[in-house]
């Protein structure tokens, strides 16, 4: 436990110093890669919450990612236009408002999708989550006011009091702080009473029913929490890219989030972050090497799925000499 804590604090220190280190090394691009890794890490960890801890294979999480991004986009759009969203809600570019709004809206949509998708399970659940995500994708494509297929350009990142969010390093530190809080919160949820019940449901739903635990509402709750976390990541990503577009909800994005989870290790707390890192590094290395990098990625994925069990986290703990 203490060893974990020391490792964690050390890692946090290195991450906090990252802007300085990349500056010294003359590699500013690396800082933006790190920012994206942290953001995708949160999205992947949120997906892993239903997938690894809850045993629900959602193939539609890009929807929540995109919704989070679009909430930021909508609010920015209406602020610059000086109009009201749906004639009701004024725009804003305050991060302290846009982030909670993104989390809330993603959670609401997750509640809707979850209510329908959780009426079944297994293979149907996968297809239904995928289908609803696709529906939301088409929804955003059809919104001509907000750029349709092209999406919304967010000219300035959202503001935080006293901070210059245009500064790459400041933005990174804000993302790092949010990621740290997110991680601690996630750990808390996993170790809570609810987390234990969710773990039980993943292992044996029939047994849990015999203990008087109705699966549906617990799974729905987990699905909503997961959608909220993914929406948070999406909102940050829209701020980072200064752009929200249907690409964020493309079904391949859902696939990529799943790939991150399995690369890092399903059902582990830290794995998805490692997986996001591995995926982003892999992507940037492979794509600088050949435009046909998805071919290599596809083959790597096949090898990882068919050939290994447990992803990078298993590797880390094996190297660490445990188990």
């Amino acid at each position: 436990m203490t060893r974990h804590r020391i490792l964690g604090l050390g890692l946090l220190l290195v991450l906090a110093l990252m802007p300085v280190l990349t500056d010294l090394a003359g590699q500013p691009a690396f800082l933006s890669l790190m920012t994206r890794i942290l953001i995708y890490g949160m999205a992947a960890a949120s997906l892993n919450f239903v997938l690894g801890f809850g045993g629900m294979v959602s193939f539609g999480h890009a929807a929540f990612f995109g919704i989070g991004g679009y909430v930021v986009g909508f609010l920015f759009f209406h602020q610059t236009e000086g109009t009201l969203f749906l004639g009701l809600i004024p725009g804003t570019s305050q991060l302290l408002i846009t982030l909670p709004a993104a989390v809330l809206v993603s959670g609401l949509v997750a509640a809707l999708i979850g209510t329908l998708a959780l009426r079944t399970g297994g293979v149907q659940f996968i297809m239904i989550t995928l289908a609803f995500a696709q529906m939301i994708f088409f929804f955003f494509v059809s919104l001509k006011t907000y750029g349709g297929e092209d999406g919304i350009i967010i000219r300035r990142a959202n503001e935080l009091p006293f901070l210059n969010m245009r500064d790459k390093a400041t933005f990174y530190w804000v993302v790092l702080a949010i990621t740290t809080l997110f991680f601690l919160g996630l750990r808390r949820v996993v170790n809570s009473s609810f987390g234990a019940v969710l773990d039980g449901l993943r292992q044996n739903e029939r047994r849990m029913a015999a203990l008087g635990v109705p699966a549906f509402r617990y799974k729905l709750y987990a699905f909503v929490l997961s959608g909220m976390g993914t929406g948070l990541a999406g909102a940050l990503m829209a701020n980072f890219l200064r752009f929200a577009s249907p690409d964020m909800l493309h079904w391949t994005k859902s696939g990529e989030l799943m790939v991150m989870v399995i690369l890092g290790g399903v059902g582990t707390l830290f794995g998805p972050f490692l997986g996001a890192g591995a995926f982003m590094v892999l992507e940037s290395v492979l794509s600088s090497w050949s435009e046909h990098w998805p071919l290599a990625l596809g083959l790597i994925l096949l090898v990882v799925v068919l050939g290994t069990k447990g992803g990078l986290m298993a590797l880390v703990s094996r190297l660490g000499g445990r188990k």
């Binding site: 987390g195 203990l211 008087g212 617990y218």
Partner: protein, 251 residues
């Protein structure tokens, strides 16, 4: 004696097969009501309807005079119905202690809390410890369920069901696959449990049934062909014909 569980005219078909055919029976407080019958008679199917996993085609089920026919599994459990599974069904990735803890936690409620620490729910873990201390699984608290022997799993099933403090327990062949000594121990336990909860006992082991049961129902092809005390069932010619006569076919 007050009736805890009352079943009237229960029916269930699987396609052309009538698995439960107009079953009527009562289980009273403080009694063990045994349900016997050859393999495939429909005993597990009946238990699954009583527990709510299967929906009956017709008939009613009352628990403490409340109609529970349309309730879900979880709702029935909340009203005091407990069960064990013929083929053990446990949380395999967890330890023995965690399994018992889960039963207690489920019974206690408050499980939508995402900000507490389950490890610190003292009432749960202290009771779990106490339950295990007085059980045959003492010393095995930290073992993973996946590593338990068959007999130990059957024990754990029973402990988890009892941890919920049910008014009635449906025990689906708790002795199946146990060795002679283990069976004897289980008989002793059930004898004691009787004081705490009514029991519907499904069992193949005649010795056990005749030792334990206050009342016996005989199920053949989904239909109850005889009901009565142990002595009445023993001497009933129809039962001997349909059931005991075919004893070598039993498993």
């Amino acid at each position: 004696m007050s009736v805890v569980l009352s079943v009237r005219g229960l029916r269930k078909r699987f396609g052309g097969l009538v698995a439960t055919d107009d079953v009527t029976l009562d289980v009273a407080a403080g009694e063990i009501h045994a349900l016997i019958g050859p393999n495939g008679a429909g005993k597990s199917t009946l238990v699954n309807q009583l527990s709510g996993e299967l929906v009956a085609d017709a008939g009613t089920i009352h628990l403490m005079e409340e109609d529970i026919t349309g309730l879900s599994v979880a709702e029935r459990v909340a009203r005091g119905l407990g069960r064990t599974f013929q083929i053990t069904s446990l949380l395999d990735d967890m330890t023995v202690m965690q399994n018992v803890g889960m039963a207690l936690q489920a019974h206690e409620g408050g499980n939508f809390r995402i900000w507490d620490a389950v490890q610190k729910r003292r009432s749960v873990w202290e009771r779990a410890k106490a339950i295990l201390r007085d059980s045959l699984l003492t010393g095995r608290e930290a073992a993973l369920v996946a590593d338990l022997s068959h007999g130990e799993k059957k024990q754990l099933e029973l402990l988890m069901a009892m941890a919920m403090a049910p008014r009635i327990m449906l025990l689906d062949e708790p002795m199946a696959g146990l060795g002679h000594l283990e069976s004897q121990a289980m008989i002793g336990q059930l004898e004691k449990l009787k004081a705490q909860t009514a029991i519907l006992l499904i069992e193949h082991d005649m010795e056990a049934v005749f030792a334990l049961a206050d009342r016996v129902s005989v199920l053949v092809y989904g239909r109850i062909i005889a009901q009565g005390s142990v002595d009445e069932i023993r001497s009933n010619p129809a039962v001997r014909e349909a059931y005991l006569g075919a004893e070598d076919e039993l498993c």
